[in-house]
Structure formats: C-alpha cells, structure tokens
Symmetry: C2
C-alpha cells in the first residue's frame, strides 16, 4: 500500500473572487488575492492510499462516505494528477491502482470558512505527493476542484491571476510575500449565530454574472487597480492602505451580490454591526488598527497586527458579549496577551450574537505529515469516523 | 391677511435618485422616476398666511416651531417664489409682508416615507398659490428644497430629468402618465419595527459620490437605459417589466450605498425577508404579481395591481404576523376586498417584525383646500399643536 497524509490551510480573500468566465474549468473574471491562515488553528487534513486490494475509489469526507468518481470536480483533480504523473514517466506505482481517501477539517463547517478551498487544496497536494508529482502545475489543478483552493497551495499572501487563455493554463496562483515577511499579521474569525440558508457560492456567482449590471465594471475597471494597490501595500507592510482596500473590496463584493437578481444576501444585521464596530474602533483609535472582510456568509474575518489584538478583543467582548453557557471558550486559538488592555467603551449590540471567536495568524502552505498521523489504517479504512 | 392652504402627496421612486452633482442647487447625477401616492392616505398639508401684523417669518412643522429664514432650503424656496411673483408684476399683496406657515404630515415620521419630499412640495405649491405664481417653474423650486420634492408636484408617474445646465434650469420633473391611466395600481407600505439610526440621505449621497467606484457607472451607463425601459413599461401598463426594473433598481441603489466607504446600510434583515417574500410569492404565482422597492430606510413599498392586493396581504399576514396588542389596525388605509382569498402557505418569519401596513394607491398631485381647512387661525397662530 502506498500512502500519503498532508494538511492544507484555509485562505481568506482580501480582493474577492466572484464570477467565472468558464464554469467547467473554473476560470474567474477577475484576479483575487488572499492571506493564508496558520494550520495550527484551522486546516484540512487528507490521507490518500493506493492499493491493489482496493476495488474502487472511495472517499470519506468529515466522517461520511461520499462519491468520488461521480463527483466531477474530485474526479478531474485525480485525472489531472495522473496525467502529469504519466507524462513524467516512471510513476512510483501503477496508475490503475484504486484509491482510498479520507479527509477532514479540524474546524466546524458551521464556521463557513471556505472549507472547500482548504479541502481541495489538501486533496490535490496529497495526491501530488502520493504520485510524486512536482508542484509547478498544482494551482491549476486545485483551481478545477474549487476556484479559491488554488490560493491555499502557498503561504503568506497569494495572488490568483485570472489569466487570459481559454484553456486556463495561465490562471495560476503565486505567492506575493511569505508569512515571515509580515509575521505579526493576526486574524480574528467572528462566527455569527445564524441559521439562515444562503445561496451557494457557485450558484450565487453564476446568477451574478448573468444578471448584475455592475459586476463587469468591477471585474474590468476596478479590480486590476485594487490588485496593484494592495500588492504594494502588502509588500511595504502598509497596514492602513491594506485595511482600506480590504474593507472596500469586501463591501463591493456584497454590493454586486445584492445587485444580482434575485439578490444574494450574505451579510446579516450582526455582520453589519461588526463592520460598524470596526469603523468605530478605528475612529476612536485615530488610525486604522483593524479591517473586516466577509465571504459568502455572515461571519467576519478581521485582519489586525499582533499589538492590537488585545484591545480589539476587549472591545469585541463589550460590543458582542457572550454568556458562554456551554463549555466553549468564547475566544479560541492563539492565547491573547495583555488581557488588562483598557478597551474603548462600546455599547453592547446584544448578547450571544457571536458563537465564538477564533484567534489565528498568517501561515504557511500545505505540509506533508508522518505516516503515523494518517487517517486510514493498514486496511485502508478510516481510523475513526468523526461526528 | 392673505392665506392659502394646500395638500401635497408622497412619491416613491422606482428609479432611484442617489447622488448630487451640485449640492447647493440640488442637481442630481441621474434621472429618477416615481409614482405619486394618493393624498387620501398620506399627505403633507400647509397653510401660509401673509399679514402686515406679522413681525417675522415663522414656521410650525408638525406642531413644533422651527427656523424658517435660518433654514437655507426653505428660505431659498420663498425667495424663488417671490422672485417670480415680482418678475410677473402686480403681486396680489406687498412682497415684504412677513409669513406665518404651518405644515404637518398626516402620517407618522416613523414611517420613514420621504416626508421631506411631500413637505417641500407642499410648501412650494402653497407659496405659489399664495403669491399667485403659475406652475411652470415650480418643480425647479421644489427641487431646491428637497430633491425628490419636485416629483411630488404632479400625479401618476413622474420623471425627474437630471438636466445638463449648471444652473439647473433644465433639471425638471414632468408627468409620464396620469393616475387615471393606470388607476388599478396599488401600493402597500410595510413599516418595519426598527430603532436603528440611519445615515441621512444627504450625507449618504455625498459620501457615496465621493467614495463609491460603482456609482458613476450606474448613473452614466445603467440608469438612462432603465428610464427608457420603465417608461415604456409604464406607458404600456406592462406590470411584469415594470416590476422587474423597479426591484432591480432598488437593489442597485442599496448596492451602491453598500459600496460607499464607510458603507451605508439602509435595509435590515426584515427588509431582506420582505424582498424574499416577494420573490417567493411571484414564484408561487407563476408570474410577477408584486414588486418591492426600498428607500433610505428599512421600510418596504410594494407595488401591485388591485386584483392582487387581497392575496398578497393574506400572504404577508402569514409571513409577518402581528399580535396587534395595541389599538392599531395592522392593515390601514384602503379597505381590502376579498378577505377570503386563499393565500399561499408562508412560514412565519417571526412576530411583530412589521409595525403596520398602509394600503394606498396611485394618486393626483397637490391640491388647494378651502380656507376653513386651514391650519392657522385669524391671528396667524396654529389652530392646534399636534403631537
């Protein structure tokens, strides 16, 4: 049996990907740019095994057996990896061996945190390691699993170029700066209590491209300039410029989602209260200390530098208090130094509007793990079925 | 003493006015188009008296004494009316007489229903009647009180052309069709329970023009086509096209408000649930029976034809039930026929999310009233101080 286990990170876009020009190849209408989060707090983990004992390709995702060959996206990722392995000659094992794949996220799906990006990045990276395929074309393959997955194949800040070729060969992601270049960059994930079903990203994007009269103007006229400006801000570690562009682009993404017909609404009243909190915090501080961004759901992701974490968290506890009736800590993740930080006085928006907060930081790309850390046993069955 | 009393209607835009190119003259960056609501349910009422006994210009607004000469907008309206009266020669009375003006809305300010539009339209129309000034330039004057006031000077559907002249001389409103041309057009105003303070329209517009990268594209490329298309829909009474353009333009207005920095949020979760209700209702009906539009606040305005009122109201009572603990009727205004209408099954979004619903219809422009209906007594003092 041949086996490989890897982990891959979550990434959060600061210039948003919204809209495909090719649904099949997952080619975007505009560039996007994200920060990779540390795998210490959140990651996808995948074990892939190949064996002549296996009768068919099987996958377990978060403890549940799911279709693999029948899922066109995962099937395409495997096919592409095998194509490269075959083209390079001398594969490590026969390409016709069937696979058992087990994958899980160490963070609740409830967090709504682009779990498919981390998941497909991890799948592609793990398969690439298993088949001994080099890295260079991997972002192109991960993109065909889930668009933003291509940005989880590297650490630090990552730029996904939309590319121009109809076959997608130049729609690739590359690192802008390494995580060590801006090592004090922190992130607070604010998980909002919400049960409302949202339009899926895939459907929302398609409908937006079909019906919004603003989306093309954004993609063609606005995003290119923003990519240039935020890249400069990131390379010079100019937090003020970085924060302003990040917040503006989050708002604009939700604006074009609202301009869809029927409209796609992802932020709720609590999300907007969080944005208001951030603007107020910066106003009180007299400078930009923190930035928000929201993906296709109500949860907020706040970017801030390490020295401002204690102050912002203290403010959040006032503005969004939590009874914490269960055993769950309200603020998880990296321990917060400077608990005695005197916060600005914020009025409560109401209790328990947030489920919890995850404190994490900028991080590295995917990593190989030791065999003992694998999710499959010697028989190629999951060691445990989570959930 | 010379005295005049008039009423003027509320208007609700279907193509939204958002953004000024001249703050002083109140010149918009795009055309807008609205429907005038019947004064039977909602109106502003103003009495203006001129007398040699009056020492200064005084105004009572909704029972409260307010500055008149110190308010640049009301002072400008008076100055313009006097200028025309003077230019036409032979004024009915000396132009240096001081005025007492009393104005009130018969609907709660809480309804957030463009009360300033009806108010300034009524002020300008009343002053014009008092000074014996003809109608032709009135929309230009009302516009300088509150932009959208110019659209309340006529009934039916009204088109406010942005104009091109820097002095505003061609920024005028004119009727598209009379109320009798689409006499079965009804409106439901859904007043949302909400206490959140919103950014004022004036401030929101200015910030949007300064910071949104989408607003000019909307004003220059999108609105002109929409004005053309909705005018055609209105003239041919094509409800389906009318409804779709109306809903899209409401969404787009809120999209550019969200693209402002910091963002301006006017719709809340309940507003979005109402929009969702409307899309679902039309889906169940298999055709477009009802349209929503939202101004700079959370309240909804639904457009629909008379035969669909009973069905939509029945659906609204299921989706937005109200305990009606007070003495207030939940659905006010025009009585609803066909109470036994079998509604589609809607799940409740929660109780008391709406304060009440006003049922009204398309209506006429401002009207002169008899002297006995005036708000000022012989001494030029308010007959009653409301509120």
């Amino acid at each position: 049996m041949f086996q490989q286990t890897c982990i891959a990170p979550v990434n959060i876009a600061v210039i948003k990907y919204w809209g495909k020009r090719d649904e099949e190849l997952i080619l975007p209408i505009n560039d996007s740019l994200s920060m990779t989060l540390s795998t210490d707090q959140m990651c996808a983990k995948t074990t892939a095994s190949a064996s002549s004992n296996f009768k068919e390709n099987v996958m377990w995702l978060n403890g549940e057996k799911v279709a693999f060959d029948e899922n066109p996206r995962s099937a395409r990722c495997l096919k592409e990896i095998k194509r490269i392995a075959s083209a390079k000659g001398q594969p490590k094992f026969p390409l016709n061996l069937k696979l058992h794949i087990c994958s899980e996220n160490n963070f609740p799906t409830a967090a709504g945190l682009a779990s498919s990006a981390a998941g497909y990045a991890c799948l592609v990276y793990t398969l690439a390691c298993l088949y001994g395929v080099e890295d260079e074309e991997l972002t192109q393959i991960a993109r065909q699993g889930s668009g933003s997955a291509c940005r989880s194949l590297d650490g630090g800040f990552v730029h996904w170029k939309k590319g121009d070729n109809p076959n997608g060969s130049d729609s690739l992601a590359h690192q802008v700066i390494s995580p060590s270049s801006w090592s004090n960059m922190r992130v607070l994930i604010l998980v909002v209590n919400d049960s409302k079903k949202k339009t899926s990203s895939t459907k929302g994007m398609r409908l937006c491209v079909e019906t919004s009269e603003l989306i093309n103007h954004r993609a063609e006229k606005i995003v290119p300039q923003r990519i240039e400006n935020i890249t400069k801000a990131i390379k010079t570690k100019n937090f003020t410029d970085f924060a302003e562009i990040t917040m503006k682009d989050s708002n604009q993404f939700h604006a074009i989602a609202l301009d869809t017909f029927p409209p796609c609404i992802y932020m709720n009243d609590v999300s907007h209260s969080i944005a208001e909190f951030v603007h107020r915090y910066n106003e009180l501080a007299g400078e930009t200390k923190v930035a928000y961004t929201f993906d296709a759901g109500p949860n907020a992701c706040l970017y801030l530098e390490e020295e401002n974490v204690a102050g912002v968290v203290a403010g959040l506890k006032l503005a969004f208090p939590n009874d914490n009736a269960g055993n769950v800590e309200y603020v998880k993740g990296i321990p917060i130094n400077g608990q005695s930080y005197e916060a600005y006085k914020f009025k409560s928006n109401g209790s328990n509007l947030l489920k919890y907060i995850i404190h994490t930081k900028i991080g590295e790309g995917p990593k190989r793990l030791e065999e003992c850390e694998g999710l499959l046993n010697e028989a190629g069955e999951p060691k445990k079925l989570i959930q």
